[in-house]
Protein backbone atom coordinates (compact mmCIF):
# COMPACT_ATOMS: atom_id res chain seq x y z
CA UNK A 1 0.00 0.00 0.00
CA UNK A 2 1.45 3.36 -0.98
CA UNK A 3 1.13 4.87 2.45
CA UNK A 4 2.71 8.14 1.40
CA UNK A 5 0.59 8.67 -1.69
CA UNK A 6 -2.14 10.65 0.08
CA UNK A 7 -1.66 14.00 1.74
CA UNK A 8 -2.15 13.95 5.49
CA UNK A 9 -5.64 14.45 6.76
CA UNK A 10 -6.38 17.95 8.05
CA UNK A 11 -8.90 17.16 10.75
CA UNK A 12 -9.71 20.84 11.34
CA UNK A 13 -10.78 21.23 7.74
CA UNK A 14 -12.69 17.97 7.77
CA UNK A 15 -14.45 19.04 10.95
CA UNK A 16 -15.91 22.05 9.22
CA UNK A 17 -17.95 19.69 7.02
CA UNK A 18 -19.81 18.33 10.05
CA UNK A 19 -22.68 20.54 11.24
CA UNK A 20 -22.92 18.72 14.58
CA UNK A 21 -19.82 20.60 15.78
CA UNK A 22 -21.54 23.95 15.39
CA UNK A 23 -23.14 23.69 18.82
CA UNK A 24 -21.99 23.53 22.40
CA UNK A 25 -22.86 20.73 24.80
CA UNK A 26 -23.26 21.79 28.43
CA UNK A 27 -21.70 25.04 27.35
CA UNK A 28 -18.59 23.35 25.94
CA UNK A 29 -17.53 22.54 22.39
CA UNK A 30 -18.42 18.95 21.49
CA UNK A 31 -15.60 16.41 21.71
CA UNK A 32 -17.24 13.41 20.08
CA UNK A 33 -15.17 10.36 20.99
CA UNK A 34 -17.82 7.73 20.24
CA UNK A 35 -17.52 7.23 16.51
CA UNK A 36 -17.17 3.47 16.92
CA UNK A 37 -20.83 3.45 17.98
CA UNK A 38 -21.88 5.69 15.10
CA UNK A 39 -20.18 8.44 13.16
CA UNK A 40 -21.33 11.99 12.64
CA UNK A 41 -22.47 13.12 9.17
CA UNK A 42 -20.86 15.47 6.70
CA UNK A 43 -22.99 18.09 5.01
CA UNK A 44 -22.12 16.56 1.62
CA UNK A 45 -23.87 13.32 2.53
CA UNK A 46 -26.96 15.04 3.93
CA UNK A 47 -27.21 17.21 0.84
CA UNK A 48 -27.00 14.21 -1.48
CA UNK A 49 -29.93 12.57 0.27
CA UNK A 50 -32.07 15.68 0.35
CA UNK A 51 -31.31 16.38 -3.31
CA UNK A 52 -32.41 12.86 -4.16
CA UNK A 53 -35.70 13.32 -2.31
CA UNK A 54 -36.27 16.76 -3.81
CA UNK A 55 -35.49 15.98 -7.44
CA UNK A 56 -35.34 12.24 -8.19
CA UNK A 57 -37.64 10.39 -5.84
CA UNK A 58 -39.97 7.55 -6.79
CA UNK A 59 -40.15 3.86 -6.11
CA UNK A 60 -37.41 2.01 -7.96
CA UNK A 61 -37.11 -0.64 -10.64
CA UNK A 62 -40.62 -1.02 -11.93
CA UNK A 63 -41.55 2.50 -12.97
CA UNK A 64 -41.37 3.42 -16.64
CA UNK A 65 -41.40 7.17 -16.01
CA UNK A 66 -38.52 9.60 -15.65
CA UNK A 67 -38.45 9.92 -11.84
CA UNK A 68 -38.50 6.16 -11.40
CA UNK A 69 -35.59 5.85 -13.82
CA UNK A 70 -33.63 8.46 -11.87
CA UNK A 71 -34.36 6.80 -8.55
CA UNK A 72 -33.34 3.40 -9.92
CA UNK A 73 -30.12 4.89 -11.25
CA UNK A 74 -29.44 6.38 -7.81
CA UNK A 75 -29.84 3.02 -6.10
CA UNK A 76 -27.88 1.05 -8.68
CA UNK A 77 -25.04 3.56 -8.83
CA UNK A 78 -24.76 3.21 -5.07
CA UNK A 79 -24.46 -0.54 -5.51
CA UNK A 80 -21.63 -0.08 -8.01
CA UNK A 81 -20.00 2.37 -5.63
CA UNK A 82 -20.01 -0.20 -2.81
CA UNK A 83 -18.75 -2.94 -5.12
CA UNK A 84 -15.75 -0.78 -6.05
CA UNK A 85 -15.08 0.09 -2.41
CA UNK A 86 -14.90 -3.59 -1.51
CA UNK A 87 -13.21 -4.70 -4.73
CA UNK A 88 -16.11 -7.08 -5.22
CA UNK A 89 -16.04 -9.06 -8.47
CA UNK A 90 -19.60 -7.95 -9.36
CA UNK A 91 -22.15 -5.39 -8.20
CA UNK A 92 -24.87 -8.04 -8.06
CA UNK A 93 -23.00 -9.51 -5.08
CA UNK A 94 -23.84 -6.38 -3.09
CA UNK A 95 -27.10 -6.67 -1.12
CA UNK A 96 -28.52 -3.66 0.69
CA UNK A 97 -29.78 -4.40 4.19
CA UNK A 98 -30.53 -2.21 7.24
CA UNK A 99 -27.25 -2.70 9.06
CA UNK A 100 -24.40 -5.16 9.57
CA UNK A 101 -26.56 -7.09 12.02
CA UNK A 102 -29.22 -7.80 9.41
CA UNK A 103 -26.56 -8.75 6.88
CA UNK A 104 -25.16 -11.40 9.22
CA UNK A 105 -28.63 -12.66 10.11
CA UNK A 106 -29.39 -13.00 6.41
CA UNK A 107 -26.49 -15.45 6.09
CA UNK A 108 -27.33 -17.23 9.35
CA UNK A 109 -30.92 -17.81 8.22
CA UNK A 110 -30.71 -18.23 4.46
CA UNK A 111 -27.44 -20.16 4.40
CA UNK A 112 -27.42 -21.56 7.92
CA UNK A 113 -30.91 -23.02 8.19
CA UNK A 114 -30.34 -25.11 5.06
CA UNK A 115 -26.66 -26.00 5.49
CA UNK A 116 -26.21 -26.70 9.18
CA UNK A 117 -27.22 -29.72 11.21
CA UNK A 118 -26.14 -32.02 14.02
CA UNK A 119 -22.44 -32.84 13.84
CA UNK A 120 -21.56 -29.52 12.22
CA UNK A 121 -19.48 -26.95 14.06
CA UNK A 122 -19.95 -23.20 13.99
CA UNK A 123 -17.10 -21.07 15.33
CA UNK A 124 -17.34 -17.47 16.51
CA UNK A 125 -14.66 -15.58 18.41
CA UNK A 126 -14.73 -14.45 22.02
CA UNK A 127 -13.99 -10.97 20.68
CA UNK A 128 -17.13 -10.77 18.55
CA UNK A 129 -19.76 -8.11 18.74
CA UNK A 130 -23.08 -9.74 19.67
CA UNK A 131 -24.16 -9.19 16.07
CA UNK A 132 -21.70 -11.78 14.75
CA UNK A 133 -22.10 -14.04 17.78
CA UNK A 134 -25.74 -14.41 18.74
CA UNK A 135 -27.04 -15.15 15.19
CA UNK A 136 -24.62 -18.10 14.99
CA UNK A 137 -25.40 -19.30 18.47
CA UNK A 138 -29.10 -19.06 17.61
CA UNK A 139 -28.98 -20.81 14.25
CA UNK A 140 -26.77 -23.52 15.75
CA UNK A 141 -29.41 -24.11 18.41
CA UNK A 142 -32.17 -24.22 15.78
CA UNK A 143 -30.33 -26.69 13.57
CA UNK A 144 -28.61 -28.82 16.19
CA UNK A 145 -25.11 -27.74 15.16
CA UNK A 146 -22.36 -27.19 17.74
CA UNK A 147 -21.49 -23.61 18.61
CA UNK A 148 -17.90 -23.06 19.75
CA UNK A 149 -16.00 -19.95 20.75
CA UNK A 150 -12.42 -19.21 19.75
CA UNK A 151 -10.66 -17.88 22.87
CA UNK A 152 -8.46 -14.82 23.25
CA UNK A 153 -5.07 -14.27 24.77
CA UNK A 154 -4.58 -11.79 27.58
CA UNK A 155 -4.09 -8.80 25.31
CA UNK A 156 -7.35 -9.51 23.46
CA UNK A 157 -5.95 -11.21 20.38
CA UNK A 158 -7.37 -14.35 18.78
CA UNK A 159 -5.72 -17.60 19.79
CA UNK A 160 -5.37 -19.01 16.28
CA UNK A 161 -3.25 -21.77 17.78
CA UNK A 162 -6.37 -23.02 19.57
CA UNK A 163 -8.35 -23.52 16.34
CA UNK A 164 -7.50 -27.13 15.62
CA UNK A 165 -8.20 -28.29 19.16
CA UNK A 166 -11.41 -26.26 19.22
CA UNK A 167 -13.04 -28.08 16.33
CA UNK A 168 -11.47 -31.42 17.22
CA UNK A 169 -12.69 -33.90 14.68
CA UNK A 170 -15.88 -31.87 14.05
CA UNK A 171 -17.08 -30.76 10.63
CA UNK A 172 -16.50 -27.01 10.81
CA UNK A 173 -18.93 -25.21 8.51
CA UNK A 174 -18.78 -21.53 9.54
CA UNK A 175 -16.12 -19.25 10.97
CA UNK A 176 -17.53 -15.89 12.08
CA UNK A 177 -14.98 -13.19 12.85
CA UNK A 178 -14.76 -9.44 12.99
CA UNK A 179 -12.07 -7.61 11.06
CA UNK A 180 -11.65 -4.94 13.73
CA UNK A 181 -12.92 -5.31 17.30
CA UNK A 182 -15.23 -2.52 18.38
CA UNK A 183 -14.35 -3.02 22.03
CA UNK A 184 -10.57 -3.22 21.92
CA UNK A 185 -9.63 -2.05 18.45
CA UNK A 186 -7.85 -5.35 17.73
CA UNK A 187 -7.17 -5.85 14.03
CA UNK A 188 -7.69 -9.55 13.37
CA UNK A 189 -5.72 -11.70 10.90
CA UNK A 190 -8.75 -12.55 8.74
CA UNK A 191 -6.64 -13.77 5.82
CA UNK A 192 -5.01 -16.44 8.01
CA UNK A 193 -8.33 -17.39 9.54
CA UNK A 194 -9.89 -17.64 6.08
CA UNK A 195 -7.12 -19.91 4.84
CA UNK A 196 -7.61 -22.20 7.78
CA UNK A 197 -11.40 -22.16 7.34
CA UNK A 198 -11.25 -22.96 3.65
CA UNK A 199 -8.83 -25.82 4.27
CA UNK A 200 -11.50 -27.24 6.55
CA UNK A 201 -14.34 -26.59 4.10
CA UNK A 202 -15.94 -23.81 6.14
CA UNK A 203 -17.24 -20.45 4.99
CA UNK A 204 -15.94 -17.25 6.55
CA UNK A 205 -18.34 -14.50 7.60
CA UNK A 206 -16.41 -11.30 8.17
CA UNK A 207 -17.92 -8.51 10.24
CA UNK A 208 -16.54 -5.33 8.70
CA UNK A 209 -18.76 -2.92 10.64
CA UNK A 210 -15.75 -1.51 12.46
CA UNK A 211 -13.25 -1.86 9.62
CA UNK A 212 -15.10 -0.37 6.65
CA UNK A 213 -15.17 3.20 8.04
CA UNK A 214 -11.42 3.28 8.61
CA UNK A 215 -9.43 1.21 6.16
CA UNK A 216 -9.24 -0.11 2.64
CA UNK A 217 -11.13 -3.39 2.28
CA UNK A 218 -10.69 -5.95 -0.45
CA UNK A 219 -12.98 -8.95 -0.21
CA UNK A 220 -10.86 -10.89 -2.69
CA UNK A 221 -7.64 -10.32 -0.76
CA UNK A 222 -9.32 -11.04 2.58
CA UNK A 223 -10.57 -14.33 1.23
CA UNK A 224 -13.86 -14.17 3.09
CA UNK A 225 -17.14 -15.53 1.71
CA UNK A 226 -19.49 -12.98 3.22
CA UNK A 227 -18.83 -9.53 4.61
CA UNK A 228 -21.22 -7.18 6.41
CA UNK A 229 -20.99 -3.47 7.17
CA UNK A 230 -23.15 -0.58 8.40
CA UNK A 231 -23.51 2.77 6.67
CA UNK A 232 -24.09 4.78 9.83
CA UNK A 233 -20.57 4.14 11.12
CA UNK A 234 -18.94 5.49 7.96
CA UNK A 235 -20.51 8.93 7.54
CA UNK A 236 -23.58 7.43 5.91
CA UNK A 237 -27.20 7.57 7.08
CA UNK A 238 -28.86 5.25 9.54
CA UNK A 239 -31.07 2.57 8.04
CA UNK A 240 -28.63 1.09 5.56
CA UNK A 241 -26.01 -1.61 5.60
CA UNK A 242 -24.42 -3.96 3.12
CA UNK A 243 -24.03 -7.68 2.84
CA UNK A 244 -21.49 -8.76 0.28
CA UNK A 245 -21.38 -12.44 -0.62
CA UNK A 246 -19.72 -14.59 -3.26
CA UNK A 247 -22.10 -14.95 -6.19
CA UNK A 248 -21.98 -18.76 -6.24
CA UNK A 249 -23.02 -18.90 -2.61
CA UNK A 250 -25.73 -16.26 -2.93
CA UNK A 251 -27.14 -17.98 -6.00
CA UNK A 252 -27.24 -21.39 -4.39
CA UNK A 253 -28.93 -20.03 -1.26
CA UNK A 254 -32.56 -19.93 -0.31
CA UNK A 255 -33.95 -16.39 -0.14
CA UNK A 256 -34.34 -14.68 3.23
CA UNK A 257 -37.10 -12.08 3.25
CA UNK A 258 -39.73 -12.82 0.63
CA UNK A 259 -42.34 -10.57 -0.95
CA UNK A 260 -42.40 -7.81 -3.53
CA UNK A 261 -39.51 -7.27 -5.92
CA UNK A 262 -37.50 -10.41 -5.07
CA UNK A 263 -39.52 -12.79 -7.21
CA UNK A 264 -39.44 -13.90 -10.79
CA UNK A 265 -42.98 -15.13 -10.80
CA UNK A 266 -45.61 -15.77 -8.14
CA UNK A 267 -48.14 -18.53 -8.57
CA UNK A 268 -50.80 -19.85 -6.25
CA UNK A 269 -48.85 -23.08 -5.99
CA UNK A 270 -45.29 -22.09 -6.68
CA UNK A 271 -43.10 -19.03 -6.70
CA UNK A 272 -39.70 -18.62 -8.32
CA UNK A 273 -37.05 -16.24 -7.07
CA UNK A 274 -35.54 -13.34 -8.96
CA UNK A 275 -31.92 -12.81 -9.89
CA UNK A 276 -29.16 -11.38 -7.70
CA UNK A 277 -29.22 -9.04 -5.90
CA UNK A 278 -33.01 -8.70 -6.09
CA UNK A 279 -33.59 -12.19 -4.66
CA UNK A 280 -32.36 -10.83 -1.32
CA UNK A 281 -34.00 -7.42 -1.43
CA UNK A 282 -37.69 -7.92 -0.69
CA UNK A 283 -39.83 -4.83 -0.49
CA UNK A 284 -38.94 -1.23 -1.13
CA UNK A 285 -35.22 -0.66 -0.76
CA UNK A 286 -33.62 1.98 1.48
CA UNK A 287 -33.15 4.08 -1.65
CA UNK A 288 -32.30 7.50 -0.28
CA UNK A 289 -30.07 5.80 2.28
CA UNK A 290 -28.18 4.04 -0.53
CA UNK A 291 -27.67 7.40 -2.22
CA UNK A 292 -26.43 8.80 1.09
CA UNK A 293 -24.06 5.87 1.58
CA UNK A 294 -22.60 6.41 -1.89
CA UNK A 295 -22.02 10.07 -1.06
CA UNK A 296 -20.38 9.06 2.22
CA UNK A 297 -18.03 6.70 0.37
CA UNK A 298 -17.19 9.48 -2.08
CA UNK A 299 -16.46 11.72 0.86
CA UNK A 300 -14.19 9.22 2.60
CA UNK A 301 -12.35 8.30 -0.59
CA UNK A 302 -11.69 11.94 -1.33
CA UNK A 303 -9.92 12.11 2.03
CA UNK A 304 -8.29 8.76 1.32
CA UNK A 305 -8.41 5.61 3.43
CA UNK A 306 -4.65 5.54 3.87
CA UNK A 307 -4.71 9.07 5.22
CA UNK A 308 -7.59 8.14 7.51
CA UNK A 309 -5.75 5.11 8.85
CA UNK A 310 -2.59 7.14 9.50
CA UNK A 311 -4.53 9.93 11.19
CA UNK A 312 -6.28 7.53 13.53
CA UNK A 313 -3.06 5.68 14.22
CA UNK A 314 -1.42 8.91 15.34
CA UNK A 315 -4.35 9.80 17.56
CA UNK A 316 -4.34 6.35 19.11
CA UNK A 317 -0.62 6.54 19.83
CA UNK A 318 -1.14 9.95 21.40
CA UNK A 319 -4.10 8.77 23.49
CA UNK A 320 -2.32 5.65 24.75
CA UNK A 321 0.64 7.86 25.67
CA UNK A 322 -1.44 10.40 27.53
CA UNK A 323 -3.47 7.74 29.37
CA UNK A 324 -0.27 5.99 30.45
CA UNK A 325 0.49 9.16 32.45
CA UNK A 326 -2.45 8.31 34.70
CA UNK A 327 -1.49 5.49 37.07
CA UNK A 328 -5.13 5.03 38.09
CA UNK A 329 -6.18 4.28 34.50
CA UNK A 330 -5.81 0.80 32.97
CA UNK A 331 -6.07 0.35 29.21
CA UNK A 332 -7.16 -2.88 27.54
CA UNK A 333 -6.24 -4.33 24.19
CA UNK A 334 -3.42 -5.18 21.85
CA UNK A 335 -0.25 -3.21 21.11
CA UNK A 336 -0.47 -0.13 18.93
CA UNK A 337 0.69 -1.91 15.75
CA UNK A 338 -2.36 -4.16 15.69
CA UNK A 339 -4.89 -1.67 16.98
CA UNK A 340 -7.34 0.59 15.19
CA UNK A 341 -8.50 3.97 16.57
CA UNK A 342 -10.17 2.61 19.68
CA UNK A 343 -9.02 2.79 23.31
CA UNK A 344 -10.91 0.93 26.03
CA UNK A 345 -9.95 1.73 29.61
CA UNK A 346 -10.90 1.51 33.23
CA UNK A 347 -10.64 4.20 35.92
CA UNK A 348 -9.74 2.73 39.32
CA UNK A 349 -12.79 2.57 41.54
CA UNK A 350 -15.10 4.55 39.28
CA UNK A 351 -17.79 2.86 37.25
CA UNK A 352 -17.77 3.67 33.51
CA UNK A 353 -21.25 5.17 33.69
CA UNK A 354 -20.03 7.72 36.16
CA UNK A 355 -16.92 8.39 34.13
CA UNK A 356 -18.95 8.99 30.99
CA UNK A 357 -21.45 11.11 32.86
CA UNK A 358 -18.85 13.43 34.32
CA UNK A 359 -17.09 13.67 30.96
CA UNK A 360 -20.41 14.58 29.34
CA UNK A 361 -20.67 17.58 31.65
CA UNK A 362 -17.35 18.62 30.07
CA UNK A 363 -18.70 18.18 26.52
CA UNK A 364 -16.67 15.00 26.03
CA UNK A 365 -18.74 12.08 24.67
CA UNK A 366 -17.35 8.59 25.23
CA UNK A 367 -19.09 5.24 25.50
CA UNK A 368 -19.47 3.31 28.76
CA UNK A 369 -20.81 -0.22 28.79
CA UNK A 370 -20.27 -3.71 27.48
CA UNK A 371 -20.11 -2.52 23.86
CA UNK A 372 -22.29 -5.48 22.85
CA UNK A 373 -19.36 -7.74 23.76
CA UNK A 374 -20.42 -9.54 26.92
CA UNK A 375 -18.30 -12.62 26.20
CA UNK A 376 -15.24 -10.37 25.97
CA UNK A 377 -16.22 -8.44 29.12
CA UNK A 378 -16.32 -11.73 31.01
CA UNK A 379 -12.92 -12.64 29.64
CA UNK A 380 -11.60 -9.28 30.87
CA UNK A 381 -13.33 -9.77 34.22
CA UNK A 382 -15.38 -6.55 34.03
CA UNK A 383 -19.01 -5.73 33.34
CA UNK A 384 -18.22 -2.59 31.40
CA UNK A 385 -15.37 -0.41 30.16
CA UNK A 386 -14.93 3.18 29.04
CA UNK A 387 -14.22 3.51 25.35
CA UNK A 388 -12.89 6.45 23.36
CA UNK A 389 -12.85 6.08 19.59
CA UNK A 390 -11.54 8.36 16.86
CA UNK A 391 -12.48 9.33 13.34
CA UNK A 392 -11.71 11.75 10.52
CA UNK A 393 -12.88 14.77 12.52
CA UNK A 394 -11.07 13.93 15.75
CA UNK A 395 -8.31 16.33 16.85
CA UNK A 396 -5.62 15.96 19.55
CA UNK A 397 -7.12 18.64 21.72
CA UNK A 398 -10.12 16.40 22.24
CA UNK A 399 -7.85 13.75 23.68
CA UNK A 400 -6.33 16.38 25.96
CA UNK A 401 -9.82 17.30 27.07
CA UNK A 402 -10.55 13.62 27.74
CA UNK A 403 -7.48 13.40 29.98
CA UNK A 404 -8.34 16.61 31.82
CA UNK A 405 -11.83 15.28 32.31
CA UNK A 406 -10.48 12.06 33.76
CA UNK A 407 -8.60 14.07 36.41
CA UNK A 408 -11.91 15.63 37.40
CA UNK A 409 -13.57 12.22 37.50
CA UNK A 410 -10.83 11.00 39.77
CA UNK A 411 -11.20 13.96 42.04
CA UNK A 412 -14.99 13.77 42.24
CA UNK A 413 -15.09 10.10 43.20
CA UNK A 414 -12.09 9.74 45.49
Amino acid sequence: MAVTAQPALDAYRVRADFPIFEQTIHGKPLAFLDSAASSQKPRQMLEAMVRFYETSYANVHRGVYELAERATAGLENARERVATLLNAPAAREVVFVRNATEGINLVAYAWGLSNLGPGDVVVATELEHHSNFVPWQYVARRTGADFRVLPLDDSGELRLDALDALVGGGRVKVVAAGIVSNALGTVNPIETLARWAHEHGAIVVADAAQAAPHRTLDVQALGCDFLALSGHKMCGPSGIGVLWGRAELLEAMEPFLTGGHMIRSVGLERTTWGELPHKFEAGTAPMAEAVGLAAAIDYLEAIGFDAIERHEHELTAYALGRLSELPWVTTFGPPLERRAGIVSFDVDGVHPHDVAQVLDFEGVAIRAGHHCCQPLMRRLGVTATNRASFYVYTVREEIDRLVEGLYRVRKAFS
Binding site: E69, E248, A252, I263, R264, S265, T272, H278
Partner: protein
Protein backbone atom coordinates in the same frame (compact mmCIF):
# COMPACT_ATOMS: atom_id res chain seq x y z
CA UNK B 1 -45.14 15.67 -25.61
CA UNK B 2 -42.34 16.97 -27.70
CA UNK B 3 -42.96 14.92 -30.82
CA UNK B 4 -39.22 14.33 -30.88
CA UNK B 5 -39.20 12.14 -27.79
CA UNK B 6 -42.03 9.99 -28.93
CA UNK B 7 -40.64 9.61 -32.43
CA UNK B 8 -37.22 8.68 -31.15
CA UNK B 9 -38.47 5.81 -29.06
CA UNK B 10 -41.34 4.67 -31.21
CA UNK B 11 -39.76 5.27 -34.60
CA UNK B 12 -41.65 4.13 -37.64
CA UNK B 13 -39.80 0.84 -38.02
CA UNK B 14 -40.55 -0.10 -34.40
CA UNK B 15 -44.25 0.64 -34.76
CA UNK B 16 -44.32 -1.30 -38.01
CA UNK B 17 -42.77 -4.39 -36.41
CA UNK B 18 -45.13 -3.99 -33.48
CA UNK B 19 -48.24 -3.72 -35.60
CA UNK B 20 -47.12 -6.29 -38.15
CA UNK B 21 -44.82 -8.67 -36.33
CA UNK B 22 -42.67 -10.87 -38.56
CA UNK B 23 -42.55 -14.59 -37.85
CA UNK B 24 -45.50 -14.43 -35.52
CA UNK B 25 -47.05 -17.66 -34.29
CA UNK B 26 -45.43 -20.71 -32.77
CA UNK B 27 -43.91 -23.44 -34.96
CA UNK B 28 -45.11 -26.97 -34.46
CA UNK B 29 -43.11 -29.12 -34.68
CA UNK B 30 -40.07 -27.17 -33.59
CA UNK B 31 -36.48 -28.14 -32.75
CA UNK B 32 -36.14 -25.72 -29.87
CA UNK B 33 -38.60 -23.85 -27.75
CA UNK B 34 -38.66 -21.79 -24.56
CA UNK B 35 -40.73 -19.29 -22.66
CA UNK B 36 -39.64 -16.41 -20.50
CA UNK B 37 -41.00 -13.64 -18.38
CA UNK B 38 -39.83 -10.20 -17.50
CA UNK B 39 -40.17 -10.35 -13.72
CA UNK B 40 -40.48 -6.58 -13.49
CA UNK B 41 -43.70 -6.33 -15.47
CA UNK B 42 -44.86 -9.90 -16.01
CA UNK B 43 -44.51 -9.75 -19.79
CA UNK B 44 -44.18 -13.10 -21.49
CA UNK B 45 -42.58 -14.31 -24.70
CA UNK B 46 -42.49 -17.81 -26.17
CA UNK B 47 -40.06 -18.65 -28.97
CA UNK B 48 -39.83 -21.69 -31.26
CA UNK B 49 -37.03 -22.47 -33.72
CA UNK B 50 -36.46 -24.87 -36.59
CA UNK B 51 -32.87 -25.83 -37.24
CA UNK B 52 -31.29 -27.14 -40.40
CA UNK B 53 -27.97 -28.82 -41.14
CA UNK B 54 -25.12 -27.55 -38.93
CA UNK B 55 -27.71 -26.19 -36.51
CA UNK B 56 -28.42 -23.28 -38.78
CA UNK B 57 -31.60 -21.45 -37.83
CA UNK B 58 -34.10 -21.86 -40.63
CA UNK B 59 -37.28 -20.63 -39.10
CA UNK B 60 -38.30 -18.75 -35.97
CA UNK B 61 -41.80 -18.31 -34.59
CA UNK B 62 -42.79 -16.34 -31.52
CA UNK B 63 -45.77 -15.23 -29.54
CA UNK B 64 -46.02 -12.98 -26.56
CA UNK B 65 -47.75 -10.39 -24.48
CA UNK B 66 -45.83 -7.25 -23.96
CA UNK B 67 -45.12 -3.70 -24.89
CA UNK B 68 -44.30 -2.36 -28.35
CA UNK B 69 -40.59 -2.41 -27.59
CA UNK B 70 -40.48 -6.04 -26.50
CA UNK B 71 -42.67 -7.28 -29.34
CA UNK B 72 -40.96 -5.23 -32.04
CA UNK B 73 -37.52 -6.25 -30.77
CA UNK B 74 -38.45 -9.90 -30.89
CA UNK B 75 -39.89 -9.47 -34.37
CA UNK B 76 -36.69 -7.80 -35.61
CA UNK B 77 -34.62 -10.43 -33.86
CA UNK B 78 -36.49 -13.22 -35.58
CA UNK B 79 -35.46 -11.86 -38.98
CA UNK B 80 -31.95 -11.10 -37.84
CA UNK B 81 -30.99 -14.58 -36.68
CA UNK B 82 -32.22 -16.56 -39.63
CA UNK B 83 -29.29 -18.24 -41.37
CA UNK B 84 -27.04 -18.10 -38.31
CA UNK B 85 -25.97 -21.13 -36.33
CA UNK B 86 -27.22 -21.84 -32.84
CA UNK B 87 -23.67 -21.34 -31.54
CA UNK B 88 -23.40 -17.91 -33.15
CA UNK B 89 -26.70 -16.78 -31.69
CA UNK B 90 -25.72 -18.03 -28.21
CA UNK B 91 -22.80 -15.61 -28.31
CA UNK B 92 -24.64 -12.76 -30.00
CA UNK B 93 -24.11 -9.63 -27.90
CA UNK B 94 -27.27 -7.76 -26.94
CA UNK B 95 -25.68 -4.65 -28.41
CA UNK B 96 -26.21 -6.04 -31.89
CA UNK B 97 -29.95 -6.19 -31.36
CA UNK B 98 -29.98 -2.79 -29.68
CA UNK B 99 -28.15 -1.31 -32.67
CA UNK B 100 -30.76 -2.73 -34.94
CA UNK B 101 -33.50 -1.21 -32.79
CA UNK B 102 -31.66 2.09 -32.92
CA UNK B 103 -33.58 3.80 -30.13
CA UNK B 104 -32.53 5.32 -26.79
CA UNK B 105 -33.43 2.95 -23.96
CA UNK B 106 -33.51 3.50 -20.22
CA UNK B 107 -32.50 0.55 -18.01
CA UNK B 108 -36.11 -0.51 -17.45
CA UNK B 109 -36.99 -0.45 -21.16
CA UNK B 110 -33.73 -2.25 -21.94
CA UNK B 111 -35.15 -5.25 -20.11
CA UNK B 112 -38.16 -5.15 -22.46
CA UNK B 113 -35.94 -4.98 -25.52
CA UNK B 114 -33.79 -7.99 -24.71
CA UNK B 115 -36.44 -10.33 -23.33
CA UNK B 116 -36.91 -12.09 -26.68
CA UNK B 117 -33.17 -12.52 -27.17
CA UNK B 118 -32.88 -14.12 -23.74
CA UNK B 119 -35.70 -16.54 -24.47
CA UNK B 120 -34.18 -17.47 -27.82
CA UNK B 121 -30.81 -18.20 -26.19
CA UNK B 122 -32.58 -20.29 -23.60
CA UNK B 123 -34.39 -22.29 -26.28
CA UNK B 124 -31.10 -23.05 -28.02
CA UNK B 125 -29.45 -23.92 -24.72
CA UNK B 126 -32.16 -26.40 -23.86
CA UNK B 127 -32.16 -28.02 -27.28
CA UNK B 128 -28.48 -27.84 -28.15
CA UNK B 129 -26.59 -27.13 -24.93
CA UNK B 130 -25.24 -23.83 -26.22
CA UNK B 131 -23.88 -21.60 -23.45
CA UNK B 132 -26.04 -19.11 -21.57
CA UNK B 133 -24.91 -15.53 -20.94
CA UNK B 134 -22.51 -15.51 -18.02
CA UNK B 135 -24.20 -12.61 -16.28
CA UNK B 136 -27.30 -14.73 -15.80
CA UNK B 137 -25.46 -16.74 -13.16
CA UNK B 138 -27.25 -19.79 -11.89
CA UNK B 139 -30.55 -17.93 -11.90
CA UNK B 140 -30.78 -19.25 -15.44
CA UNK B 141 -31.18 -22.76 -14.08
CA UNK B 142 -34.49 -21.71 -12.70
CA UNK B 143 -35.64 -20.67 -16.13
CA UNK B 144 -34.42 -23.87 -17.66
CA UNK B 145 -36.29 -26.03 -15.21
CA UNK B 146 -39.60 -24.30 -15.74
Amino acid sequence: MTTGEFDQLYRELILDHYKNPRNHGLLDPADARAEGQNPLCGDEIAVTVRLGAGDVIEEVGFEGRGCAISQAATSMLSDLVKGRTAGEVALMPKEELLNELGIPLTPVRLKCAILGLGVLKLALHKAKGTPLPEEWGTAAKDLVLD
